[in-house]
Symmetry: C2
């Protein structure tokens, strides 16, 4: 955690919050295949166009994606490969978490 200072907790939390939405995770997942337009992303993820655009801006602001404009089209791509490491770590913890919850339920029930 690199000595979490008081003030940086908010900044770190903001970054985690950007990844704390299923739709944004789906968008990032689609972008694993490479650069894609907002329209393509909206279609693949099932988000409306306005929604996809808004979520992509959150990811852009946090530096997880980059974009370039070409005519009327805006192309998005993954900017920070660390995001996939983050997801892998989180995925790894999910089974443990489930097991832990089962234990708790057993204890209480």
């Amino acid at each position: 955690m690199i000595e979490l200072s008081e003030s940086s907790a908010g900044v770190i939390a903001d970054r985690f919050r950007a990844l704390a939405e299923p739709m944004r995770l789906r968008l990032l997942n689609s972008l694993r295949r490479g650069e894609m337009s907002v329209g393509e992303l909206a279609e693949q993820t099932g988000a409306g166009q306005a929604n996809a655009s808004k979520h992509l801006q959150v990811l852009l602001q946090q530096g997880f994606v980059e974009r370039r404009k070409e005519g009327t089209t805006t192309w998005y791509r993954v900017a920070d490969p660390a995001v996939f490491e983050l997801c892998s770590l989180v995925c790894g913890g999910i089974e443990e978490g489930l097991e832990r919850r089962r234990k708790l339920l057993r204890r209480r029930g």
Copy 2:
């Protein structure tokens, strides 16, 4: 990201959301020193007692912390060291993110 399935996006997002609060990050940071009681954690982080208790349960549910009860006292400890790797990765991306935002502002301004 280990092939993110549609259904798992929500589960992963839940885990990220547990880390998307400054107070919970502060609680985890305090727990780096070792096992601590709810009261101690509330004092160290400046959270009220009720707040600390609630946040700790979120972390407990997601498997980031474990606890044991001893009389009237409940002791919490970090259960999943991966949480510190997560924070390190996020911290590493913060400088890049800031630089990226500066670029955007320059482009627009």
